[in-house]
Symmetry: C2
Subunit: 133 residues, 2 copies
């Protein structure tokens, strides 16, 4: 799978939240999206930790966007939820052989690096606002 369920649910939740004025609870979010609430709760927590969402406890609490939709990129979302940059191509060669520096034995690393850059760039420029049109 190219995009994990966690990222997919994060995007879904952010789309819904972008249309809400007031904080929305994880339970009602999960219900509206028909996705598992326990899993979604963890995802929302990750997004809150990353500063993409603000969280409010207590009565009438819930989650709300911390920034404008145009300032939230797909790269931000995926990095927050998956804990790392997406599409990380790990060199499968031994560490000593793959420092990605000059005269490296690993001749394919530059190509992987280029691909990773292109993907990261695409995801960084694609914001929530682009999807909401």
């Amino acid at each position: 799978m190219l995009i994990t369920k966690a990222s997919e649910y994060a995007i879904l939740a952010l789309i819904v939240l972008s249309k809400e004025k007031k904080p929305m609870g994880s339970e009602s979010l999960a219900k509206q999206l028909s996705i598992p609430k326990s899993f979604l709760a963890k995802i929302l927590q990750s997004l809150a930790k990353a500063g993409i969402l603000k969280s409010f406890k207590g009565i009438n609490g819930g989650f709300a966007l911390a920034h404008e939709a145009k300032n939230i990129s797909m790269l931000d979302i995926m990095s927050a939820v998956e804990g790392k940059s997406p599409a990380v191509f790990e060199c499968s060669l031994s560490e000593s052989a793959c420092p990605s520096d000059t005269a490296s034995i690993c001749s394919i690393w530059p190509f992987l690096n280029k691909l990773q850059g292109k993907i990261d760039n695409f995801l960084a420029e694609l914001t929530l606002a682009d999807i909401l049109e």
Copy 2:
């Protein structure tokens, strides 16, 4: 993970194969890339089935590109290896509620569809030749 290991290995193998004139066996490919040969063998078979690679049995057999690098897109590779279009956002609502047609209850489907289109488009335009520069 955004890109599965299968896709990653497929890309790695295609990069190497794009520089070879003669067919290359799965074992020597796995050795050069330091990746599991059994897993790679399956991936190469998928690529062959999809028409991206040509396979040759017997002595001096192996795999070779079936097309020019500029005609092989990331979308082709991922679709072949993962058996479906990457980034498939499945509607989590009930089937009756999510036909993605007019008057659908599922208000977020159009946005998901748009995102999927953008990702597919990006991957379709990104070819092996782009990475090889």
